[in-house]
């Protein structure tokens, strides 16, 4: 039997442990009731988990953390703008938006995947920059082309100047239609059952997908591209497909997220979604090359628990709620930096050990 190495165990889980400690300190300071915290956590898990799950497939294919999921989020938003403009309400509006987002997501995902293949080894920074680039195009489309070129029927969602979409598009008639369709109330905590069924279905899809031929190919590509190529796998195509699937899922996730929120902040909803989803995944103990469904759930709970309690705890400690706001933003960026540094350090250490072993031989 292998000896349990406590040091390794703690080192591997340093980020979630750090967050558990932060939450344990902040919860009593915040003074929130247990039922309030449970309610908030359940709402946020239902709202965000789908988006975070969309990150798993590119990690499996060795593409790292897909900052390009923002592209899918933009596709979802464009689809919701159409759905809202055509006055398609309720569940049909959500389904329509999901279907409309698919071609946009596929197009953007294929573009992103192709560019990432050209910048092999620097996928994360490239996908991050691509998201800024596409954000510019998104703004061009939504701010200038919607109205004069792309027909928008309702004046209420157009800017007063007659073209472009307003800062906020109301989704009042879609708001929480999925969350409320099947929901139960347990001890004052509202559980959106249908949202959780959708999330579980996606989890099952991911588990099933990893066992398919394409899933196995992605895993092989993620482990070693050269070996995968030698085994006859079309590496480039497999990598592009992983990004396309991730982008499509991110589009769906954004639609579910926005139906929960009840409005679209047209020019800002998507901008940081990738950053926060990646931060949540890393908080759950995932790394650049390894992530599981368990990491997603742990991450979303811990990250959002911190998001809920930190501002209030910051107010109690410093008397200024802004400190708490800054703290949580600082934590989000900090955890990504920490995870990337740890990943590089580990990789460096492994390489050093391997080189040492080769020299000994």
């Amino acid at each position: 039997m292998k000896n349990f190495d406590l040091k390794k165990f703690l080192a591997d889980r340093s980020v979630p442990i750090m967050f558990i400690i932060i939450c344990l300190v902040c919860i009593p300071l915040s003074g929130f009731s247990t039922s309030y915290l449970f309610n908030e956590i359940v709402t946020r898990v239902a709202r965000n988990t789908f988006l975070i799950l969309s990150l798993l497939i590119p990690i499996m294919a060795g593409m790292g953390l897909n900052f390009g999921m923002t592209l899918g989020a933009m596709a979802g938003e464009i689809a919701l703008i159409f759905s809202s403009d055509w006055q398609i309400w309720g569940i049909p509006g959500v389904v329509l938006a999901m279907i409309l987002s698919i071609p946009i997501s596929i197009l953007l995902g294929a573009l992103c995947g192709t560019l990432l293949n050209m910048s092999r080894g620097r996928e994360m920074i490239t996908s991050y920059i691509i998201s800024f680039f596409i954000n510019g195009i998104y703004q061009l489309v939504v701010l200038y082309m919607m109205g004069p070129i792309i027909p928008i029927l309702h004046e209420s969602i157009k800017l007063p100047r007659g073209y472009g979409i307003r800062n906020t598009v109301s989704l009042l008639n879609l708001r929480q239609c999925i969350d409320n369709l099947i929901s139960v109330n347990i001890l004052g905590v509202k559980i959106p059952v249908l949202s959780f069924i959708i999330i579980i279905a996606l989890c099952l899809f991911i588990v099933w997908f990893t066992k398919t031929k394409l899933g196995q190919d992605m895993r092989a590509v993620g482990q070693n591209m050269e070996v995968a190529r030698a085994a006859g796998i079309n590496v480039d195509r497999t990598r592009v497909l992983s990004i396309i699937i991730s982008t499509v899922l991110a589009g769906f996730g954004m639609i579910l997220y926005l139906q929960n929120m009840g409005n679209i902040a047209t020019y800002s909803s998507h901008s940081q979604i990738g950053m926060f989803c990646i931060a949540a995944l890393l908080v759950g103990g995932a790394s650049v090359d390894k992530a599981s469904i368990g990491n997603v759930f742990l991450g979303v709970i811990l990250f959002h628990l911190m998001f809920i309690v930190a501002p209030r705890a910051g107010t109690v400690i410093t008397g200024d709620s802004m400190i708490g706001e800054y703290f949580r933003v600082f934590i989000s960026y900090g955890v990504i930096t920490l995870a990337l540094v740890m990943y590089e350090a580990k990789k460096h250490k492994k390489k050093k050990m391997k080189d040492g072993g080769d020299n000994e031989e």
């Binding site: 946020r44 709202r47 965000n48 055509w86 006055q87 398609i88 309400w89 309720g90 569940i91 049909p92 509006g93 389904v95 329509l96 279907i99 409309l100 698919i102 800024f132 954000n135 703004q139 701010l143 309702h154 800017l159 007063p160 100047r161 472009g164 307003r166 800062n167 008639n173 997220y257 929120m261 902040a265 020019y267 800002s268 901008s271 940081q272 979604i273 950053m275 926060f276 998001f307 706001e325 933003v329």
Partner: protein, 156 residues
């Protein structure tokens, strides 16, 4: 093999397009305005009942005295409305159910309940709701673009 794959993809695209069309058909939302107002039917003025309660999906959405207007929302091409009508003060209540086909092109649909109850021609009791034009000049809206994520995530 390639042909088979192309066939599957084509079927999938057709299926998704079909679902889109169905969603656009069944998901069209309307704001319904119920008028409990007297109206002229075949040259004869029919008075509004003393009180009409309107139920949509079993939920009371309006309790209208003569001359009142109420509103609700409806998703789909045909609205199912239940009315509880009291013709005169202290009189008996009568429950009636109606299915009203809603014009697709109208966002807001005004339904005159008196016309509906008295089987007036469809066009006479259904009309488009047109909001009153305001005299205020539209104020230009400054577009806020959050590239650096200062607005946070999902904070209501």
């Amino acid at each position: 093999m390639k042909n088979k794959s192309f066939l599957y993809k084509t079927i999938l695209v057709i299926l998704l397009a079909a679902i889109c069309i169905v969603m656009i058909y069944i998901g069209r939302g309307h704001t319904l305005y119920f008028d409990n107002k007297s109206m002229e039917i075949n040259g004869k003025v029919v008075d509004a009942p003393y009180r009409t309660k309107v139920f949509v999906k079993g939920k009371e959405v309006a309790n209208l005295n003569a001359g009142d207007r109420g509103m609700s929302i409806w998703i789909g091409p045909t609205a199912h409305i239940d009315l509880e009508v009291t013709s005169v003060k202290g009189g008996d209540k009568k429950n009636i159910s109606y299915k009203v086909k809603l014009p697709r092109e109208y966002d807001g649909v005004v339904i005159n309940l008196v016309g509906l109850m008295n089987e007036a021609p469809y066009d006479s009791y259904i009309s488009e709701f047109i909001p009153l034009a305001t005299a205020v000049e539209p104020v230009e809206e400054e577009v806020i673009v959050d590239e650096m994520g200062e607005l946070g995530l999902g904070e209501e």
